[in-house]
């Protein structure tokens, strides 16, 4: 970046829209996979932890340790095992979602008022019906809150996967740093921030749509 270079060269942006779209797609795929798998694992772990409370401590411990390990380090630790591949990236990304999702799922299930649980059992719901028809729907706001944080974090972390060759918007960031080219850098960084906010906003909408009982008051 020499003085006199404009901060963003829009002509570069215009001529590279295809690339930008490609990286954006990659980013979305990486993030989506991580959230999807993370949610699936966390649901199982969370549901089991609320059914068998002694599970909660070890589960939290493991996911906590995974969360504490810095992302780059985690990817690096996996490289000898799974190489510079999408699997490494996904294992790392999924690990980061686990702590917050599991915590929120358990907290959400625990927050169901005891009398609602009592009424459901008293009316003849099986344990499974209780879980799927009552506890999980009522836990949805808390779960979605956790999902929001997890998604936003994952969008950010996916940029780091560029360092292990995975692409996404991080590719532009790295490229910009290496080539001292601010435009590319800003495109990468700016888009990842925008993507994170868009994902957050979308989930807020999802939460609003799927929990009508939480915001309809007496008319």
């Amino acid at each position: 970046m020499s003085p006199g270079d404009p901060f963003i060269r829009w002509d570069w942006v215009a001529s590279h829209l295809g690339d930008i779209w490609l990286r954006l797609e990659q980013h979305l795929v990486l993030t989506g996979l991580a959230i999807g798998i993370g949610l699936a694992i966390s649901l199982v772990a969370g549901i089991w932890s609320s059914r068998w409370p002694w599970l909660y401590a070890p589960v939290t411990w493991v996911s906590g340790v995974l969360y504490t390990i810095p992302s780059l380090a985690l990817f690096a630790l996996l490289i000898p095992i799974t190489g510079l591949s999408i699997v490494t990236a996904e294992i790392g990304l999924v690990s980061y979602t686990l702590l917050i999702l599991i915590r929120n799922i358990v907290a959400g299930i625990r927050s169901v008022p005891p009398e609602v649980r009592d009424a459901a059992l008293g009316m003849g719901c099986t344990r499974r019906q209780l879980l799927w028809r009552v506890e999980l729907p009522l836990a949805r706001p808390v779960i979605l809150a956790g999902l929001r944080v997890a998604t936003v974090t994952t969008v950010g972390l996916t940029t780091v996967t560029a360092l292990i060759g995975q692409g996404g918007l991080g590719y532009f960031i790295l490229d910009g740093i290496q080539r001292f080219f601010s435009t590319v850098l800003v495109v990468g960084a700016g888009l990842s921030v925008l993507l994170a906010m868009a994902a957050d906003g979308l989930l807020v909408l999802v939460e609003w749509w799927t929990t009508p009982w939480a915001h309809r008051r007496r008319g």
């Binding site: 008022p113 009398e115 609602v116 649980r117 009592d118 009424a119 459901a120 059992l121 008293g122 009316m123 003849g124 719901c125 099986t126 019906q129 009552v134 729907p137 009522l138 949805r140 929990t211 009508p212 009982w213 309809r216 008051r217 007496r218 008319g219």
Partner: protein
């Protein structure tokens, strides 16, 4: 409600139900030497101790007592939310322990104090919970939901798609009761269902439920700590003591007139006489008549020379108020405005006790009895009520003087 046969999975059915009678008829409920110990508590402190009682079909049995007397625990042993340590609970002669728990519960209505309405489901979905669990066709469930909403006095079109948070406390309690009745269960369990609302609403809910029960005739086991509620609601009342002991199981009148020991007598309260009045309705007493006048007509001389007031009726035979004969002597024209004295207008199912308290503040101490359309049927004077009270007071054992003296 047509004579539809019960759906599969409802093993608790009285013979009437199997024949497809329109109304849900109650099942018998019996406790046989039921005891419940909790391991955590010290030995000797049982939650329920050797409880035995039998509830005939279609009756309301109220379990009443101070906290810690085991009434809620006993209730929850009927639908196996609590399992007895020993003894049996039988519904229609069948030991509930031998019926699959979830199947059992789908055949028993369950109402709790905090309602436990599902906040994330609409009123219609809440009420339809058990029918859904039982696999009823959608149309049948919907029809039943609407029917129940009307029965509890809510407009289905308005309320069906609302959420519990959008209803008032009293409305929610009613929905809770409707939800328990949805599958026409032969047994209903109610745990302080009206406890969480204000006294005025509670009064209304109690009366409404009695009216509903009159139509449905399911067997109800009702838990409360309020002796007045027990007396009002119960066909039979079981008074329990701390430690899960049953002290007396009898119709309310017997509890009031023949308490079996000191505990029951104290629990029932020293105003037994007044409570007795709560059990008698105006319809049980002979109606008296009074002097009448009609709007726009000439006032006639009173029936009795000592009468000071005449009741004014409008064109539809509905009472307007009392006219003081000193101001409006016979021969004058009766106008609406002339009716300046008031007294309560009550229906025949009002209890003597309620009528008495309404009359006490009025200038005319006579209650006007009206029918369901508000039309005049007769009157009851305060003397008649006092007479009734004196009659029952005389039956109370161990009283040196009557507890209530009316000059």
């Amino acid at each position: 409600m047509g004579g539809e046969p019960r759906m599969a999975g409802e093993p608790i059915a009285s013979a009437n139900q199997a024949n497809g009678t329109a109304r849900a008829q109650g099942a018998t409920v019996e406790f046989r030497h039921v005891t419940k110990h909790y391991a955590a508590r010290e030995a000797g402190a049982a939650a329920v101790e050797d409880l035995s009682l039998h509830v005939p079909p279609g009756e309301i049995c109220v379990l009443v007592g101070p906290s810690g007397c085991g009434k809620t625990t006993s209730l929850r042993m009927v639908n196996r939310l609590v399992e007895p340590t020993s003894g049996q609970v039988l519904v229609d002669g069948e030991d509930v322990a031998r019926i699959q728990a979830t199947t059992l519960r789908r055949g028993i209505g369950y109402v709790i104090q905090q309602t436990g309405l599902f906040p994330h489901r609409t009123i219609a979905q809440n009420i339809g919970t058990v029918p859904d669990l039982l696999g009823w066709p959608r149309s049948r469930t919907r029809a039943r939901v609407d029917e129940l909403l009307e029965l509890i006095g809510l407009d289905p079109a308005l309320v069906r798609d609302r959420y519990p948070a959008q209803l008032s406390g009293g409305e929610r309690q009613r929905v809770g009761v409707a939800r328990a009745m949805a599958s026409e269960p032969p047994v209903m369990l109610m745990d302080e269902p009206f406890g969480a609302v204000d006294p005025i609403t509670r009064e209304r809910l109690q009366t409404e439920f009695l009216r509903l029960h009159h139509q449905l005739r399911s067997t109800v086991i009702f838990v409360t700590h309020d002796i007045d509620e027990a007396i009002k609601m119960g066909d039979r009342v079981a008074v329990m003591r701390q430690g899960g002991h049953l002290e007396q199981y009898a119709p309310p009148a017997d509890l009031l007139t023949k308490p079996v020991n000191d505990f029951v007598a104290r629990f029932v309260g020293s105003d037994r006489g007044l409570k007795r009045l709560a059990l008698i309705r105006l319809a049980d007493l002979p109606l008296e008549q009074t002097s009448l006048a009609r709007v726009g007509a000439t006032i006639q001389p009173p029936r009795n020379a000592t009468d000071r007031y005449t009741l004014l009726l409008d064109a539809n035979e509905r009472p307007v108020g009392w006219m003081n004969l000193a101001h409006m002597p016979p021969g004058s024209r009766a106008a609406r405005e002339a009716a300046d004295a008031s007294s309560p207008f009550v229906r025949a199912e009002t209890t003597l006790r309620d009528t008495l308290s309404m009359m006490l503040g009025c200038s005319v101490q006579t209650a006007v009895v009206v029918d369901d359309d508000g039309r005049y049927r007769g009157v009851i004077t305060i003397e008649s009520i006092a007479q009734e009270l004196r009659g029952s007071v005389a039956l109370l054992p161990g009283d040196a003087t009557p507890e209530l003296a009316i000059p």
